[in-house]
Symmetry: C2
Subunit: 390 residues, 2 copies
Amino acid sequence: MNNFIFQSPTRIIFGKDSENQVGAEVKKFTKKVLLHYGGGSIKKTGLYNRVTASLKENNIEYIELSGVQPNPRVSLVREGIELCRKNDIDFILAVGGGSVIDSSKAIAVGVPYEGDVWDFYIGKSKINDSLPLGVVLTLPAAGSEASPSSVLTNEDGWLKKGTGSDLIRPKFAIMNPELTFTLPAYQTACGVADMMAHIMERYFTHTTDVDLTDRLCEATFRTIIDNAPKLIIDPEDYAARAEIMWAGTIAHNGLLGTGREEDWASHSIEHELSAIYDVAHGAGLAVVFPAWMKYVYKHNVSRFVQFAVRVWNLENDFHHPEKTALKGIEKTKEFFSSIGLPVTLEELGIMDDRLDEMADKCTAGDTVTQGRFVKLNKKDVYEIYKLASE
Amino acid sequence: MNNFIFQSPTRIIFGKDSENQVGAEVKKFTKKVLLHYGGGSIKKTGLYNRVTASLKENNIEYIELSGVQPNPRVSLVREGIELCRKNDIDFILAVGGGSVIDSSKAIAVGVPYEGDVWDFYIGKSKINDSLPLGVVLTLPAAGSEASPSSVLTNEDGWLKKGTGSDLIRPKFAIMNPELTFTLPAYQTACGVADMMAHIMERYFTHTTDVDLTDRLCEATFRTIIDNAPKLIIDPEDYAARAEIMWAGTIAHNGLLGTGREEDWASHSIEHELSAIYDVAHGAGLAVVFPAWMKYVYKHNVSRFVQFAVRVWNLENDFHHPEKTALKGIEKTKEFFSSIGLPVTLEELGIMDDRLDEMADKCTAGDTVTQGRFVKLNKKDVYEIYKLASE
C-alpha cells in the first residue's frame, strides 16, 4: 500500500425532497449566488421552481447563467466569471450534472484569478484560491459533486482538458434520486459507464497490498452492475436510482484510490473522441475501456483474473488464467451493450479516418505517454482506437 | 434506502513516516496545543520525540497532559479543560488510541462550555462549540480518529456514556501503520473486535434496499478477517497493519451506515461490562456480540444468512436457512477466539453474579430499551448476558 492523503469534506444531503434544503445550506456561506445550470430541463421538471423558492425563503439573491452544454465550454465559463465579478458574487450554485458542476468549478477558480481560467487546464497555473460552490445533482455520472476535479473543453482547437484541487470540492451536494427519474435510458447508461470507468481507472494497478480498496471497488462495481439494468426497465425505481446515485459519488470521491497508483489513460483516450466528435463521455468510455483492457491485460493477468472472478462472478480457469481474464473483459463489454451503450467506434458513429490524428493529440505529438498501468505512446493509443473499432 | 447526511472532513495522512508532518498540520490552526497522551509507551517507542521535534520545528508551543487510561475518565478531562483555559490553548493534539482521542474530544468541547463537561454525556446539554483537535493514531480500533463520537467514564458511579457531534470530528488524523508494530497481540485483537463490531452495529438492520452499504460493509469485514490473523503471527507485517488501520477508520467514519438504520445495542450492553469490570472494550464486544446475534437472529434470518454467505463464505443451506444463519454466528465466535479473544464472560474473568445489576443499569431500571434491530428491555439484556456466559 502506498502512502496517501484522503479527505471527503463535501456534505452529502441525500434522499427524497432534499432539494428543499438548498436555501438553508447556501445561507451558511452567503446571501448571493450565481445560479448555474444547463438547458431548460430543470424548468420542465419543476426543479428550478423548487430551488429558487428555497433560495427566496432564505433571502438568497441569485443571478442566473444557463446554457451549459455537455462537454462544457470555456467561453461560457469566461462569461460566468465576468458576471460574478460585476455582481460581487462569492458563491456558485450548480444545478445539474457533471458538466454544470465542472463549469461551476471553473468559474469558482476563475473569479479570484488574474489570468485566463484556461491556464489551470493546460498546467500554466496552479489553483491557489477558489470561491466556494454547492451542488444540486440531477445526473449521477461524473462524481464531480464530491470530487476535486473539473474537465473543460476549449472550442479554440477543441481541446478537452482537466484540472484539480481540493479547493474546488463542493461544500455540499444535494442528491435526491427522484430528480433522476426523468433521465432518458441512454443518458442513465452513459452515467453508469462513467462511474464504472472511474472505478476501473483505480482498480487496474500494479500496487500490491491494497486489499481493502480492491474490495471496496468490487463492492461498488457489483452494486452498479446489479442496479443499472433495473433502471433500463423502470426509470422510476427509487431504490435502484438511489444505489446508482450514491455509487457515482463513492466511485470518484477519492476513497477507492487510497493507497494505490491509478491509471487514467482511458479517460485521456476518450477525451479526444468527445472533443472532436462531441459524443457523450460515458458512451465514449464504454467503447474505449474494453479496448484498453484487451491491449494491456497481459501486463498483469492475475489482476484481470481477480476482476473477472470477483466482479463478474466468473469461475477461474486455473490452467488458463488468460482465458478467464479475457472473459472478464468480454463480460464488461456485454454489460455495457446490455444497457444500450455502444461498444465500438462504429456504433458510436465514428469512422476510423481520424484515429491517427486523435492518437497524435492524445500524446501531444508522441511527446508524452498516457496512463500508469502501462505507459502508452502514440502507437499504443492508435492500436487501442483500432481495437475499439472491432 | 433512508435519507441521510454524510461528510468525512477529517484529513487522513496515511503511511510511513507520516508523524513527521504533525507540526506542519497543527500550524494551519494554531501556535500552541495541549499535547494529550496516555502512559509512557509513546516515549519508549520514540514517537514522543518525533512528535515534539516536529512541533518545535514549526514553532508550536505545547503543554502536556498525560495519564489517559483505557476507558478514559472524566476527572482527567476536567483537569485538561482547566489547563487549556489557564494557558489559552485553542487546539488539542491527541497522540494515542481511542481513549486518548475521546478524552481529547471531551476536553475540546469542555473548554468553551460554561457547565460541567459530563452534561454532554448524559444528554443534559448539546454540543454547540468545540476547539479543533488533531490526532496521531497509535491504535486502530475505535475509529475515533475520524468519527463524531466520544465515550467517557465517570468514576462517580462508574457510568460509561457517549456523546457525539460533527463538531468534534478531528481536523486531521496522522496514521502510520508502523506505529502499531509494537502493539501486543491481545491489544491488536481487541482493536479488531472493536472495528468488526462497528460494522456489525450497522450491518444488522431491517432497512431494505441498501445494496451498496451492504457490500461496502462486507468488503471491510473480509479485509479485516483476512488480515487480522497475519498480525498475530507477525506483528511487523506492514501490509496487514496498513489494511487493519485503514479498515478501522472506514468502519466508523459514517460511510457504512449511510441510508440505513443502525443498532448499537451491543455497544451499550458491553459498556456495562467495561464500566464495572474495566475490561478492554474490544474483548467485551467479542463476548457480547455473538450472544446478541444468537438472541436476535430470528427477527431477520435472511440478513444473517447474507452475513454467513457473503462475509464468511459459507454455503447457504437453502432448505434450512436458520442453520446457515447460526453457522455464520458460530464462525464469528470462532474467528474472535482464533485471534486470542475471550468469547464468554468466564473467559473474560467475569462471574455471573452481577448480570442483573448490569442489565438494570443498561436499561436505566428497565425504563429504556436498547437497540433498533430488536428493541431490548431489561429481561432481554439479561438473557444476552446469560447467553454470553455459555
